[in-house]
Symmetry: C2
Subunit: 286 residues, 2 copies
């Protein structure tokens, strides 16, 4: 199998960046993986673990031979870091990111992209509630969807290469426009996180001095609220960057819950059952 990219630079070695490094190593998708970050100690540790072959602290050197740059930092910093990295890249280099929100990132990075460099927004639909490369997994992307969001400005060859790269990493690649991406992700990922965070907070609010309600939480509750332990800073930024879609999704959810609450209040068993069948059949159908 030909290597699509020879030297891959990963900026930000979190859960996703670290897992991508592990995947590239395991599947032999590149000759070298170079890590870039701000924290020397963290980079050294990642190097010691064999995730990366070499590393540079800062974004000024080490990019000359890189032919794929993956921006793996939190969504809010991606645009800023792209701005720092771009001047040091060699012609033909492909740049992508792994951010959970796409419209703002893609629009702003495309606006600063010089001729000869090719940016394509990306989002592997994978992750856990944990952060940092210590939690990285070799099979995180295996058989998972990876969404790429090319625009009218995208270079077709760069897109094809990036698509092949993610396929070789084990993912199923889907292309869509940034707006559709952000709308869909608001519904199936960002909304559930807001709901999980709020559910745990509601139960904290209910606690009284007599009863420690949370100590009774069983398996179902724990599975259900696992994502409420996700990184608050990362999710704050996602909520802010995808505000409009997220508010719209919360509106839909509030309406659905209000209908159910109303049916319970009216003790309308038939209506309650109908609402439960609707979600039952939908969920079984996934």
């Amino acid at each position: 199998m030909d290597k699509i990219f020879k030297n891959i630079g990963i900026v930000g070695l979190g859960l996703i960046g670290g897992s991508l490094a592990r995947t590239i190593k395991k599947r032999n998708l590149a000759d070298t993986i170079v890590g870039f970050g701000r924290n020397q100690e963290r980079m050294q540790k990642a190097c010691g673990l064999g995730l990366i072959d070499e590393f540079y602290v800062g974004y000024e050197q080490g990019f000359k031979d890189i032919d794929l740059v993956v921006l793996g930092t939190p969504v809010k910093t991606i645009i800023h870091i792209a701005r720092e990295v771009i001047p040091h890249l060699s012609p033909g280099t492909v740049i992508t990111d792994v951010g959970s929100v796409k419209a703002q990132i893609v629009e702003q990075i495309e606006a600063i992209m010089p001729p000869g460099l090719h940016f394509i927004g990306g989002h592997p639909i994978a992750g856990t509630e944990n952060s940092g490369f210590e939690w990285s997994l070799t099979d995180l992307f295996e058989d998972r969807k990876c969404i790429l969001t090319p625009t009218d400005n995208s270079n077709q060859r760069a897109l094809d290469r990036l698509k092949q790269f993610w396929i070789q990493a084990g993912s199923r690649v889907i292309c869509m426009d940034v707006k559709t991406h952000d709308m869909i992700l608001a519904a199936i990922s960002h909304l559930p996180h807001m709901v999980a965070f709020s559910l745990v907070n509601a139960i904290v609010d209910m606690e009284d001095s007599k009863n420690n309600i949370l100590q009774y939480s069983a398996g179902g509750f724990k599975d259900f609220t696992r994502i409420a332990a996700s990184d608050p800073v990362m999710w704050r930024d996602i909520a802010l960057l995808n505000k409009e879609n997220l508010i719209r999704s919360i509106d839909f959810f509030e309406k659905a819950l209000a209908s159910l609450k109303d049916a319970i209040q009216r003790e309308d068993g038939k209506n309650i059952e109908e609402l439960f069948w609707k979600s039952h059949d939908t969920r079984r159908g996934i």
Copy 2:
């Protein structure tokens, strides 16, 4: 180990009744397990699978030698079935149930309990989204909490025996009053189910002809909404029987979500982050 009960009757062989039968068999907790139900074919199948040793169709015969009756039918039918079963029980028999709501069930069954028979409400905090003994598990109760809800009228010896029985079944037994039980379960079990049902319904409502949003649901969403595939009829009855506590829990949740939505709308990053840290720290602490 002495057997606390010699002949156990299980009325209703669903997921819980079936799993209890498997547990009794595996741990050798009784000489005989007798199944009682309405559907001959189902009982025959359970007997063929070795879950029960014998069975009776209907609730009129077979109870003479039973010293523990477990009512495992859906919450709405428990009181009705208790009424049918009681006249046929021998003195000293202990009766319990496994219903997810306790106040109404315990109050109404105690009211019809003749002297010499002992009812103690019970609720093993265990289950999956599946229904029926075909899905029953030998280890469903292992290391899980089982709540018993004795009242001032409860026979102490019957309570002790039932407690020991559930301990021998692998559970950690906790006693509390029915009101506390119903309040806690509304918060950590019934509310999350209402939220999961409503979340799936909201996403169905959002679907448009262009985008099939649900096809993009990844692992996180699937884990989160697994309970939305639970039995609609069972959950309708739980919602109706625990109405007051459930509405109160939904109120708390609506407020928590509204605060977050408001912070997102105001783009108040500090406030959003605070709310996420609250649930993050709580969830990590469970």
